[in-house]
Amino acid sequence: MESLAAWFENNFSAAAGMPKELIYFGAILISCVLVLAFMLLLVLFFIWEERKVSGHIQSRVGPMRVGGWHGWAQTIADTIKLFLKEDIVPRAADKRLFLLAPFLAFFGVFAAFVVLPYGERTLVTDLNVGVFYILAITSFSVIAIVVAGWASNNKWSLYGAMRSAAQIVSYEIPMTIAVLVPVLYVGSMSMVSLSEAQSGGVWNWIVFRSPFTFVAFIIFFIASLAETNRTPFDLPEAESELVAGFHTEYTGIKFAMFFLAEYAALFLVSGVATTLFLGGWNGILPTQIMPGPVVFCVKSLFLVFVIIWLRWTLPRLRVDQLMYMCWKVLLPISFVCLLGVAVQKLLF
């Protein structure tokens, strides 16, 4: 984004006369719009992908008609339908909080998108505390869920919200420690530095540089499944138990926003995993053949595919088993990884 601002300044004679703040502001706006558009397109694609993948796993085909080839326009049709639906607000619901919750969910994900390094020069901004920023912002999703559950004034929603809050807050800890492992290894919290440190071929990717980082990757992946409320950790949305959990009472656009936030979060955690462990924008070969953003997206999309695959294969964990897994399994292992990587850095 800074370079975009500089580019503006240099190339547009009309811009030369404007104050710097205005140019910056323009650049920010354009970057955000681009990221938003990218996010929306991704979500459109993911929802279609989920339906096709789930269909094929379940021995059926999924959408086939809307738009012609394998129903690619299905999500567009569904989104239009959602927008046209009646916007129902339960009478006993807390109106302001009810309206606020979907935006909070959306904000939590979107604000973190701007720090993802899509390519060497394709990024919005390079915060030197990028990793920390992402961890902080994604915690917003808890607030959104709890507000949604509470404001709906519905016992089932409240139940889903409570379960989700407990789950997300608990799993943040092994996730954070797993994230600390590559940070410790590379010595920087900046997303760009982390990606740059992994250049030079597939064996330079952090995930392959040490057994501890490999395990940390797996822990991060599992914890991120819990963070995004995906099976086997999707108890808060357990359709068969709680109708629809915390978003039972939401219809129309607000429901669409929750949906959007969930699928965007999938890409977000995949993107973070890619940057931290799987090499970021660096390709498999030492020299970069494909452009950085393409490589980044391919890796992230592959991880999203794995997440979708897991959803349609595994049953879901009960809430106490979920907590057990977090506190008694993932947490100790992640501590060991951190210790191991620290020792490794010291000795080698």
Partner: protein, 409 residues
């Protein structure tokens, strides 16, 4: 003010001021307020599951009294699907009642038909030709497979695994095709009639059924890979909803639930009816392989093995299928014998279905009582779900495999 105590058989609906009053009116139950150290009081929460709910397997209402996630009590409310079958039974003729039996356990209509028809035939002393007997066994066992596939699929669905549901219904489609070709219907068949069956097997049906069995046999190991031994599924179902054997017998639990609690009891072997004594098959019993004897996993596994055994029976029946007529001599207007009654029970997929038929010599029965397996199976739910969590309760209801059609009649 309405007195608490005996439920309101003649009372009226009124607005309850609080959850406590609601519970009191339910028959004297008390609601506890649990005082934790200090001044913090927590109250139990009343939560309603159903009547419309994705995982209550029909229109069933469960009132849960919970403290956080722990279920202190479950009160089932049934009757939402009550269609006055027993009253109808007193007003239609014996033959006219057969389609009504289809709608009892609509997932296993053939077995419902069979139970009723066997009772009427025994009452009247009618002979059924051999070919019809064999066809009845084939159809009943195929329907048992279909019913257990639904149980399997919905169990997986309730546990969050969406795929077994699709696979189970994919297999069911093949069975539905067989039934549709034979009798014209996919769900409520009215095929097994008094005296025999309504139509003969169409051309190529024996081959179609054999092909289905060849297709189905390798599916069971696939199901084991997908769900049965999946660690998450085992964690959710092992040691959950343990039903001790004496509780099962006291509460009249029958069928796979009783066998899962350790008792090797199957009416097809222990009180054989029709020609079941000619076939060779095993009775699976719960062994507590993954947890304790009588837990939800055992109930699940008994059904899977029963499907395999049913396939075995169908193969043997296909081999021994003789030629001949498909209906015996049945009087056009059936008049029951004077002052004769009987109670006949057969092994339906969900358990023991009993028909108590009382005849007073008229064209219609004097009393037709239907003892359904799911009615008794469901009555044990409050006992085994107590102390577990809501998620466990979903697993227990799924493992009991109830159908509201036969509970409410």
């Amino acid at each position: 003010m309405m007195p608490a105590g005996l439920g309101s058989a003649t009372g009226c609906r009124r607005h309850r001021e609080s959850a406590a009053e609601y519970v009191r009116d339910l028959g004297g139950m008390t609601m506890d307020t649990v005082e934790i150290e200090g001044k913090l009081q927590t109250e139990e929460m009343l939560l309603n599951m159903g009547p419309q709910h994705p995982s209550t397997h029909g229109v069933l209402r469960l009132l849960l009294r919970m403290d956080g996630e722990i279920v202190h009590d479950v009160i089932p409310y049934i009757g939402y699907l009550h269609r006055c079958k027993e009253k109808i039974g007193e007003n239609v003729t014996y033959q006219q009642f057969t389609p009504y039996t289809d709608r009892l356990d609509y997932l296993a209509s053939m077995n419902m038909n069979l139970g009723y028809v066997l009772g009427v035939e025994k009452l009247l002393g009618l002979e059924v030709p051999e070919r019809a007997q064999y066809i009845r066994v084939i159809m009943a066992e195929l329907n048992r497979i279909a019913s257990h596939l639904v149980a399997w699929g919905t169990f997986g669905l309730d546990m969050g695994a969406f795929t077994p549901f699709m696979y189970g219904f994919r297999e069911r489609e093949k069975i539905m095709d067989i039934f549709e070709r034979t009798c014209g219907a996919r769900l409520t068949y009215n095929y097994i009639r008094i005296g025999g069956v309504s139509r003969d097997l169409p051309e190529g049906m024996v081959k179609q059924i054999s092909e289905f069995l060849d297709y189905f046999d390798p599916r069971i190991p696939e199901y084991h890979d997908l769900l049965s031994y999946n660690k998450i599924f085992v964690e959710r179902t092992a040691n959950v909803g343990i039903l001790p054997l004496d509780t099962a017998i006291a509460y009249g639990v029958t069928g796979p639930c009783l066998r899962a609690s350790g008792l090797k009891w199957d009416l097809r072997k222990d009180e054989p009816y029709g020609i079941y004594d000619r076939f060779d098959f095993d009775i699976p019993v719960g062994k507590g392989e993954m947890g304790t004897v009588g837990d939800a996993w055992d109930r699940y596994m008994v059904r899977i093995i029963e499907m395999q055994q049913s396939a075995r029976i169908v193969r043997q029946a296909l081999e021994g299928l003789p030629e001949g007529p498909i209906t015996g001599k049945v009087p056009k207007m059936i008049k029951g014998p004077k002052d004769k009654e009987l109670y006949i029970r057969t092994e339906a997929p969900k358990g023991e279905i009993g028909f108590y038929i009382v005849s007073d010599g008229g064209k219609t029965p004097a009393r037709l009582k239907i003892r359904s397996p799911s009615f008794s199976n469901l009555s044990v739910l409050p006992v085994i779900a107590k102390g577990g969590m809501v998620a466990d309760m979903v697993a227990i209801v799924a493992s009991l495999d109830i159908v509201l059609g036969e509970i409410d009649r």
